[in-house]
Amino acid sequence: MAALALEQVVVPLRAFSLRLSLDVDGALALVGPSGAGKTTVLRAIAGLVRPASGRIVSGDDVWFDGAKGVSLAPDRRRVGLVFQDYALFPHLSVRENIEYARHRRADEYLDRFAIRHLERARPADLSGGERQRVALARALARDPDVLLLDEPLSALDAHTKAGVRSELHDLLRELAIPVLLVTHDFEDAAALAERVGVIVEGELRQLAAPGELVAGPSDPFVASFTGANLLNGYGERDGALTRVRLVDGTVVTTADEADGEVVLAVYPWDITISTAPPHDSAMNLINAPIRGIAEIGNRIRVTLGPVSAEITADSRQRLGLEVGQPAYASFKATGTRVVANHADPAREGALPSRAEDGVTSASRRR
């Protein structure tokens, strides 16, 4: 797989400048609030926006080099871009949209994306999920070296989203090209990508495997933005519930349906910490020494076994929690959610993270 590399790319925007260095191989997601410059990253790679400086390289092809004055036109870059609103040509049929990218082999893509029955339809007559499949088929029919996805799930209603997300997840694993997707939803990013970068006001705050971001946020913004704990394991149905055996051997129960490799999400504020085994309705109990205690704004994040819980400073004092001390974390089966099925287990601690001070928007929570 020829990697995509952004080397100190700078794009001046209205309120701030986008400054980014990034190596993309496999699936990488950039998450951040709206207006963080995420779409600009994609447009710069596609050649729709010209950076002020830096280099953009795909494999051996130099797409942009500010110092040498190289900037290939969008049509000379082998890039597939799926727009947020999909940007299907309204005057062309599904088949014609795909043929626009590739004259002869449209059939291959109609079959691959199961849209042959729609080949004569106009984009306006398609559902959101169908439009996305056409947009993906069209982008891939170009035979790109890099696939870029702009908020791939945001145009879909909640009902369609779950199914499309799982389809998209499988597709991204099959592709042998680097995929860069941007989204404002950390859960989507974690479900789709192997690595997730958090971007705020044009700067990359932290880049790591999704689980790593949750367990070790480099700053309060990343912490509040990432939100959920992500638990990787292998699920088996057990009556109305699903038992998920995690990588470290812990078994977690969820009320969602899942089978095979799964990623579970559980929010830190849904987890209770205690020093004695609690006597309540929570089905999940983890007993382990406390790995870390971090202050995040007005909250305390306590990491224990595979999960992090958020409690108040008062609770911490009352319980006298210290690092290394054994404690119990409990959460309800209904407090967990399956965010991905058939997922690859997230890589442990693969990438260095960078801490930054002076974050003002730390208290914002999704």
Binding site: D75, L81, F89
Partner: protein, 276 residues
Amino acid sequence: MKRALFACLIAAVAIVTLGFLALPIVAIFAHTTPAHLLDQLSNPVVRDAFVVSLKTSLIAQALIVVFGTPTAFLLATRRFRGHAVAVTLVELPLVLPPAVAGIGLLAAFGRLGLLGSTFDALGVTLPFTQTAVTIAVAYVASPLYIRQAIAAFEATDPNLTAASRTLGAGPVRTFFRVVLPLARGALVAGLALSFARGLGEFGATIMFAGSLQRVTQTLPLAIYAEFDRNFDATLAMSGFLVLVSVVLLLGLRIGLTWQRSPSNRSSYLFGPSASG
């Protein structure tokens, strides 16, 4: 009581307005029957005016499309110094009194005009030729097309052109396969308005091209010339022009509704200036 009176008053005023607008049209057809109209086609003056009008209009509209479309695309997609001046220039003939436009054309292309000596050297005389009629029509009618084209190109979703580029199409292919097809409805509407305006051109033509039967005498000029000689011929020609206008307007209306059907998703194709 007051409300009812108000409603009646509004209705009454509207009726007067519509009647006022309809009356002259009705009057023309009250004097002409279709048979009468066809009869007048054998009148050489009418026939010649018909041919001159058709020929000059078609050539003028072709010129407007060929020169106006790229100009409109440039003005719609690029911002540069003097952009506002350029747009004003495009719109100027719309508000300029046609007679003034005719004088201007004469001052530019006439024998003693700005470019007169140049044309003289080339052995070309423009004033009082059929070419002059075409130029006058093109000058006066062009804003209706170009304005509409600018609005249409501005309304093209920039993501669609961007998508085209990322799919490997260069600017030329993007223009002909995406921009132009999406703007087509609006361009045709603009052309219809421009055609109607050009067909009725009078002031600039009579100043710059004169009114010579078989050469420069268009239908409106012939109507004026025949006015006190052969009232039947004027009525026939007027009737014909009314018919053309009505057909064009109705065609526009129908085209507009068709374009706005949901499966086309292109209600934006028509800029505000197309509402008539």
